[in-house]
Point group: C2
Chain length 433, copies 2
């Protein structure tokens, strides 16, 4: 019987692991709780009504359809039992699904990260994060509903609160969300309302540390801040959020003390934690819940289990590897090749990350890009960002469609996917509308 | 003070009513419980994973942004009080929205139709209909999940049930859904599964009357049936559905008696009923709940209230007008012009429908089209259908994107929007996945 390799997670890490096993004489099962691979770097564009979910997501089984040794299953892994090499999965639809357990010879865990609220899980309902497609649709819904509610509101204070948007966390996601929200308010919605002026909306970006985009060089951090300010975003650094309630957020600013912002919409782009699945491995984890992996990506004490991407904590040259797509992709492929080595009885090879660069967009025609010796900001960086992301997108079709969308949006300053979907009409109301 | 015209509903009827009032010295308020106008003729393409919601929906306030005398409000009308000329609307988000009532001088009700289950509302949960964007996403979700569950299922009987799709109702929507489902099973998914053969799926179209597409001429009815059969759809006519339960459907076939089909997925394309809002008018309604309007579209006894589209029952040349977009559009514009006449003190003009033709698609490259003396079926009819629908789509952008999508899908036989979204993983399970 051929060895059975199970991959949990169809993100960047899991998908590249599966691909690296193409043609090998083994059986691969890839599990994911969604039926699609998500191109997460563009998720904020779904949340801000520029792209449709279908533009940045492709069915995993379609992506891998030509790879005969892979079976894709829609299933959620609940726990892993390393001793018996078994994975417990969700029971499936009511009367079906006898496959409630899956055994493996080798396992790659690539389940990624989820939001972390610094121990305040009660903030989650008020301040959604941006990790999944459903998260993005929920953020889109809240942002658009806030403008709609403001148009109906007659009380000036309440209207102001509805038109205030607070984004917590000044990393790439927070910066991208803030820039896009500013463009929605100042450009896309300009002519659409009669009672309110969308341009009067306040967009506030709150970052705990001294600078935005902590992982970028100082010159690009400054460029990003300047671009955001030009778009009308209020940037608060050294500001730690200490409370999120029904009416707004409270942050503590060094030397100033507690500040309160009345805001209907609060978005969370601050903390992440590894998927809780790895807890069931029973090995030491770091503070973010990631497995302290060996340099070969093996889980200590379990030579048949590998961790890649956001569930894997690894240092390189004395610095932790960042939680970005490129790390996950390279680790996924590396773990797969180490499994092939293990099957052939060869020694495993330690992982080494090749950093091709780091980018973030700020808005229409503005970005920062860091390629080591070469650094760019503004329009040039945005063009580089645009081409890299279009050519990286999975599937030829998506590239054409997304390019058409972007070109059109750029020329007209419109956002085409301004749809409020979902069954409730207003947040907090239970009624089906 | 300028007269205040309220339009309830931003579908084809309401939108064309608002447009016909452009430039007039009056105030218009358009209410809708969704923030978008939906291009309903292509809704089945969202349900069958060919188009994204954003391709067929545009924000109403964006469509009307240049029309200064119109204000668009996101609100659900709850009831109308003709005596005091007041409309009660939903209370809005928890602490906002003092606008819980809207008064009017003239009112156009254009709230459309909803599903009707022949008095069996308990079937609704098992057999979703296709009227809203959320309906379409729910149908897409169920269809895709059925294939996913079948791939995990090991019991042959259960697998067969998961791969059986019953569509109730042989009008245009039922025919379009059945044709698209057959293409999904036979073409789009062909290479994507390992344990099941998607081509083995059964698609069964159940129609109570003797023929499909009752409103079309007999030659086109036959052409549609032949096309569907070629695609592998089992067509059951003279078959009245008498029960829908957890496991499947039961239909009564003339001269044969009760037949049972085990089917996980049942879709409802059979009955429609007018939006229940018109009940609050307190005037006589027909069996489908529509207002028996005067030829001028006025509600009997209420010269300040007009009904258009699917809430309006009207005969022309002894035949009832069909519930199609063209009737709604023409009636919307007509009602608006009659209101302008009424304001100027002129007599109202009776409505007369100009029928430009009738079309339905059956699948990739096949349709039927009836333009009175000219009738077409097959590829030619499909080309006509394609061009008319692309040029009718609201907004120039959508036309380009949708055309790109279609051209690509046609060449590759792929469906690009095969995404299972929503928070539950499996139907019937409460767990958040």
């Amino acid at each position: 019987m051929e060895p059975h390799i199970v991959i949990i997670g169809g993100g960047f890490g899991g998908l590249d692991a599966a691909r690296a096993l193409a043609g090998a004489p083994l059986r691969v099962t890839l599990l994911d709780r969604h039926n699609y691979h998500l191109f997460q770097p563009l998720l904020y564009q779904v949340a801000t009504a520029s792209l449709s979910p279908g533009d940045i997501a492709s069915p995993i089984r379609w992506v891998l359809r030509h790879q005969a040794n892979v079976q894709v299953l829609l299933a959620e892994a609940r726990s892993i039992d390393p001793a018996s090499r078994r994975i417990a999965i969700d029971p499936g639809p009511a009367d079906a699904g006898r496959h409630n357990e899956i055994t493996y010879d080798y396992l790659i865990v690539a389940t990624g990260a989820t939001h972390a609220y610094f121990g305040h899980s009660e903030w989650a309902a008020r301040a959604p994060g941006l990790k999944t497609l459903d998260d993005a649709l929920e953020i889109r819904r809240r942002v658009l509903l806030a403008f709609e509610a403001a148009e109906r509101e007659t009380d000036a204070e309440a209207r102001k609160r509805l038109l205030t948007f607070a984004i917590v966390g000044g990393g790439p996601t927070g910066v991208e969300l803030a820039g896009a929200l500013a463009e929605i308010a100042r450009q896309s919605l300009k002519k659409d309302f009669r009672s309110i002026r969308p341009e009067s909306a306040r967009i506030i970006l709150i970052e705990g540390g001294p600078r935005l985009l902590a992982s970028f060089p100082a010159s690009l951090q400054e460029a990003a801040r300047a671009s955001l300010t030009r778009l009308g975003v209020e940037v608060k650094t050294d500001s730690i959020v200490v409370n999120v309630d029904e009416q707004g957020v409270v942050y503590q600013q060094t030397a100033v003390g507690d500040q309160r912002i009345e805001a209907q919409t609060v978005l969370w782009a601050a903390g992440v934690a590894a998927s809780p699945l790895v807890k069931s491995l029973g090995v030491p984890l770091d503070r973010a819940g990631r497995v302290l992996a060996e340099p070969t990506l093996v889980v200590p004490g379990h030579p048949d289990i590998f961790v890649v991407g956001d569930v894997c904590a690894l240092q390189q040259d004395g610095k932790p590897l960042p939680g970005v797509a490129q790390v996950a992709k390279q680790q996924g492929a590396h773990a797969a090749r180490n499994i092939l080595r293990s099957i052939r009885g060869e020694p495993l090879v330690p992982f080494r990350y090749r950093d091709y660069g780091n980018m973030a967009t700020i808005g229409r025609g503005s970005a920062v890009a860091d390629f080591g010796r070469i650094k760019a900001s503004g329009f040039l960086a945005w063009l580089i960002w645009l081409f890299i992301h279009i050519f990286w997108l999975i599937g030829f079709r998506s590239r054409i469609v997304v390019f058409t969308e972007w070109a059109w949006a750029y020329v007209t300053m419109q956002r085409r996917v301004r749809l409020i979907t979902g069954e409730r009409l207003w947040p907090g109301s239970d009624e089906r509308s």
